[in-house]
């Protein structure tokens, strides 16, 4: 089974702190994604990546950046956390080609910014 692991399930940070959310997948998938989930808004795409050192903005990239130095790891970075970034963050991965839209998700990282 494809496994997507988000190392931090729950985080509490203070306004202005730099926050790193880590995601690792073990199935050699090319594509990786970061979504944000908020009640009543569903899932919104923040950033995605097709390959190492490659990134593309999603629908809501403001206030976020990403890093993909290795194929299996995709990090989401909040340079200066703000209270409106309190949310559930979901990482996902998929292969290329016909399976590109079949996303496998991690368990999520719930971030609270005080």
């Amino acid at each position: 089974d494809v496994k997507v692991t988000q190392s931090s399930r729950y985080l509490v940070k203070r306004t202005g702190e730099k926050v790193f959310l880590e995601c690792v997948q073990d199935m050699d998938h090319e594509n990786m994604f970061w979504y944000r989930q908020d009640p009543g808004l569903g899932l919104r795409l923040i950033y995605f990546s097709y390959d190492v050192k490659m990134k593309e903005k999603g629908d809501i990239p403001e206030g976020y950046s990403v890093s993909r130095e290795k194929k299996e790891r995709f990090s989401l970075i909040l340079e200066s956390a703000s209270t409106n970034q309190t949310s559930m963050y979901l990482c996902a991965s998929s292969e290329t080609g016909a399976g590109a839209n079949v996303l496998t998700f991690g368990a999520g990282s719930r971030l609270t910014v005080l």
């Binding site: 997507v4 594509n31 994604f33 979504y35 009543g40 808004l41 569903g42 899932l43 795409l45 995605f48 097709y50 593309e56 999603g58 979901l90 996902a92 998929s94 290329t96 016909a98 590109a100 839209n101 079949v102 996303l103 496998t104 998700f105 991690g106 368990a107 999520g108 719930r110």
Partner: protein, 117 residues
């Protein structure tokens, strides 16, 4: 632009009753369609997907969905609901080359299912 609408925010059914969750999409061509389920505090798990072919697709946990092009719908059904089906359900649409991206999905806002004993 692509979009997905799930008209029902919250549905309650009795255990053993049948279930239908509605999903409508907006997309210019034949879409790739998905249903995911999310248990409380967990990530999303794929229930089923439609790419092409037979418009009635079977998924895990006894779920099925039917693609109706004329209605732009992809409703999820289960003949008999179990208490363990209580969760949030998300419909999604994707395309290989949406906005130049590969593999992106557009999600509906979700339908929360409660199951009465």
């Amino acid at each position: 632009a692509q979009s997905v609408t799930q008209p029902d925010i919250h549905i309650t059914v009795s255990e053993g009753a049948s279930l239908e969750l509605r999903c409508n999409y907006s997309y210019g061509a034949t879409p790739y369609l998905f249903w995911y389920v999310q248990s409380p505090g967990q990530g999303l798990q794929l229930l089923l997907k439609y790419f092409s072919g037979d418009t009635l697709v079977q998924g895990i946990k006894g779920f099925e969905a039917e693609f109706k092009r004329s209605q732009s719908s992809f409703n999820l059904r289960k003949p008999s609901v179990h208490w363990s089906d209580a969760a949030e359900y998300f419909c999604a649409v994707g395309a290989l080359n949406y906005g130049g991206s590969q593999g992106n999905l557009i999600f509906g806002k979700g339908t929360k299912l409660s199951v009465k004993p």
